[in-house]
Symmetry: C2
Subunit: 173 residues, 2 copies
């Protein structure tokens, strides 16, 4: 459901093929959603099925011709309906925090290593976000403004994460 609406939203920004969408999910959109390509193609097929999107085959230089999907009028209606609907409350889920919570039986060293690995992941995330930020044009339209705000959201949370890791590490041994 959510994935189908996100795809619809991306198609509303520009028509795209499945492979294009996969690239979006791996880069610009990665800080709040991601998707397996199998899932993307299936969802795309379902959207066309429901007449929320349409396909046109674009013969190109590469292998199977890419299939450009574009949002239909019905699709736009469905998209706005979702955007404006009740928030789906989503459970917090963080396996790393779970490990820390349960780390009683782990040695200090092992806990330290855990923290370091998380820090590495967070720094990677930070770098990825900063790259996107650096390559982003200054926001002119409201749409661009909102998209930048979500980047800022990601950055703030990664930084909070890094700060938290620092304090945990300090208090450790």
């Amino acid at each position: 459901m959510i994935l189908s609406r996100i795809i619809l939203g991306l198609l509303a920004i520009a028509p795209m093929s499945g492979a294009d969408l996969k690239r979006q999910f791996d880069t610009t959109v990665n800080h709040f959603w991601s998707a397996d390509k199998a899932q993307i193609y299936r969802t795309l097929a379902a959207l066309v099925d429901e007449r929320l999107a349409s396909v046109t085959v674009v013969p190109g230089t590469t292998a199977p011709d890419s299939q450009e999907h574009r949002i239909t009028d019905a699709g736009r209606v469905a998209l706005v309906a979702w955007l404006d609907s009740e928030l789906d409350r989503q459970p917090e889920r963080d396996a790393f925090i779970a490990r820390i919570f349960l780390a009683e039986s782990l040695s200090d060293d092992a806990v330290g290593r855990l923290i370091e690995r998380r820090r590495a992941a967070a720094l990677e995330q930070l770098a990825a976000l900063e790259t996107i930020e650096a390559s982003a044009a200054p926001a002119r339209t409201r749409g661009e403004h909102l998209r930048l705000a979500t980047l800022d959201h990601g950055l703030r949370h990664v930084r909070t994460e890094l700060e938290w890791l620092d304090t945990v590490e300090e208090q450790l041994p």
Copy 2:
């Protein structure tokens, strides 16, 4: 996999029935994981199946006798193995941020409402975490210390979220 290890970890703190676990997932552990009761009972059965936990029926005052599960030695081994294993990288996933990213076609009012609903959810979360914090005993053992650190993690992120919501709202109209 992760759920089964978390349950194992909780059983390592104290033997518990399925209903007890459900209560944990709804309260103390809620800020980083949650689980449906169907899932809990099924996972518990699997753990017993793999000899990582054992059951004893505790006849009690209420309806079906509760089944106390306790972690076995093999279970402790499996738990530590998981705690100390490579971090499972988990994709960020936040449907709310997705909506903001795609909110171009929404009216200013609608975006404002979205923000307000998120703020309400965040404040609720904050209250829940503060309640747990207030009722928590000061950490004496390292285990308690680590558990408090995860609470702090939750609090920091909710506060970051609220700050972000403020700045987004300011820049809005």
